[in-house]
Subunit: 370 residues, 2 copies
């Protein structure tokens, strides 16, 4: 029996939370799932072998960065991003939209697309929905994202304009896409405004994408607003397709997302925090630079199964940090990614066992958000 790629099977539900299987040409994603970010076709400081040992299944790469350097033509010539960075499991690329709109003074948007200057050398480039899809097809990830406009979420007029443009661009992305071995996900926008989010979710859902993303969140709005928007959108998006909350991140945001029906997450947080000496745990963050760890023989987390915690003391990690050794970033990144991958694995098991509601409540009660 051949299984069609990009089918999504829900295997268990508990409230709004879901456990599923999303089939891709590079293997199955067991959802909910957290994807570490490999911005420039590398998850910073971590080898693919280490990612595999961590149990990561989905890796995100950034279209904006790879388009500028080394270039989509080169990545395509090298066999695509999987082969280039040697990640044999599923991959996802964003469309470049978020990065381009983050350039602020260095970009100009019109109905057709966005003209922007490279952060590397100031050279001028232009992305359109068609161009973004063309680049994503050259990169060759399993899941590719529509080119959207991410507005300041609290600005209603801007959010509405960006949403309307995002809808038009979503249709153009669908028309531009040709590769059958890639799934194009549509993105819901609408800022923190329930009526806009409703309108956007209904429109994007009507276009027949094999999966949907919630964009424009975790960009400065309150947690209350973020949770409300996820609920509004997920009440509308079809149950039988995966839902991806873009750019989210922290352990409590992941649990809150799963509680509200999200299946896929990605974030630079675990690797970025690692490069700033901060270890993520199920009860909060630990700044390993702190002198209190200087003679501490314990690992970051006593009950963590990662390579770092199975081997190294806080004292050693602090020494590496103080001595400015690269290995600190590697070992803390391994731990932080493992923490989020393991949190999603445990959440999935809890959903399968029908005890996720209690698991999530217990987790959030003990998590220190400081």
């Amino acid at each position: 029996m051949t299984i069609e790629p990009f089918t999504f099977d829900l295997v268990a539900r508990e409230g709004r939370a879901r456990a599923g299987v999303f089939r891709t040409p590079h293997g199955d994603l067991l959802t909910p799932v957290f994807a570490p970010v490999g911005t420039q076709a590398t998850v910073k400081a971590v080898t693919p072998a280490q990612l595999d040992e961590i149990g990561a299944s989905l890796v995100l790469a950034n279209t904006y960065h790879l388009y500028l350097r080394p270039g989509a033509d080169l990545v395509e010539e090298m066999g695509g991003v999987h082969e280039f960075m040697r990640w044999p499991k599923p991959m996802l690329t964003d469309s470049g939209g978020f990065q381009v709109f983050s350039l602020n003074d260095m970009r100009k948007v019109d109905e057709e697309g966005v003209t922007f200057k490279s952060h590397i050398d100031g050279s001028t480039h232009r992305l359109t929905p068609e161009k973004a899809i063309s680049i994503e097809q050259q990169l060759g990830a399993d899941i590719i994202m529509a080119f959207d406009e991410c507005a300041v979420p609290t600005d209603r007029a801007y959010s509405q304009r960006a949403m309307i443009r995002t809808h038009a661009w979503a249709e153009r992305c669908l028309k531009a896409k040709t590769r059958p071995d890639q799934a194009l996900f549509g993105i819901v926008q609408g800022g923190i405004f329930p009526d806009l989010r409703t309108q956007s979710a209904e429109y994007i859902a009507s276009l027949g994408f094999p999966g949907h993303a919630i964009g424009g969140l975790s960009v400065g709005e309150s947690k209350t607003d973020m949770h409300a928007m996820i609920e509004v959108v997920n009440d509308i998006l079809p149950e039988n397709k995966p839902r991806y909350l873009m750019g989210v991140g922290s352990p409590e945001d992941l649990i809150n997302g799963v509680l509200r029906g999200v299946d896929i997450f990605d974030c630079v947080l675990p690797t970025r925090l690692a490069r700033h000496q901060s270890a993520m745990t199920f009860t909060g963050r630990i700044n390993l630079m702190n002198a209190v760890h200087a003679r501490d023989k314990r690992p970051i987390s006593e009950d963590c199964g990662c390579y770092t915690c199975q081997n190294f003391s806080r004292a050693y990690l602090r020494h590496l940090i103080v001595a400015k050794e690269m290995l600190a970033s590697t070992l803390i990144s391994i731990h932080n990614i493992y923490t989020l991958v393991e949190l999603m694995r445990r959440s999935r098991q809890a959903i399968l066992d029908g005890r996720f509601t209690l698991f999530a409540a217990d987790f959030l009660e003990h998590y220190n958000q400081k």
Copy 2:
């Protein structure tokens, strides 16, 4: 049958080249062997698991660096340097002498020892033979080195003074050492002067160390002088004890050392070159930053068995370098250390097979020293 630690068995010879087994409390060293350097209790950018996969068997750590940071008391409290950095196989520490004498204006030597200022914070410290041994005993490596004075090798008067002091200090080190699970190696000095080297080798050999090192080479003298000094010294040092050429390094220097009866080498070269985008191969160095590699699908070396060459293209490595990604240092370090470890493994096999003379001649003929 219990085998006494620190026994050294020669299993084959060819000319002056030797294949041996040196037994330590943390396992056997199959010689000739190359030791990567973990200056601050980490081989830069490489995990112990990766070192193990490379096949490294001996790792060097620097007493000067660990004494200053995090401190020998702390390392001892954490269970010693093996446990601290989680390297379960044999380790070696130098005495700190070489680093201290490299401080130039920041140190003052007398007959008792050396007073110096820390490169980290300028604080004043003092090392004597007794203090160096005490620190090395706290660190707990399998092989520890006598505290010696390394002179400018072309300055005869200085070389002679330093040699005489090194001899007096060697005796004090022997008296100071108490741990039975560590082997203290004596160091031969004498610059580029055959008569001084002869005198030093005879004196150091007379003291009954379980192993001997050749110090003060690869510090600016000519290759001809280096080779001549190795020959002079190894003609005198006893056959039945291991010989360690300190701070050497390049593939051609390793082969030339093995040809002249050296058993152990260490050098920062493979990891330092890796951080400067330079890959070591059996035929010379490759600067991976060079644009010629931008679209090259080949690995660094087609016939290399390391993780890097088994997976990644030169194009990808160059991309990581250009994009300033830490993974570049990790992957090139893995390759460079593997190259030297593998070169020693092949040399050992060639000695066992009685074909090392031809192997070495062939290697040196094809090696581009530029």
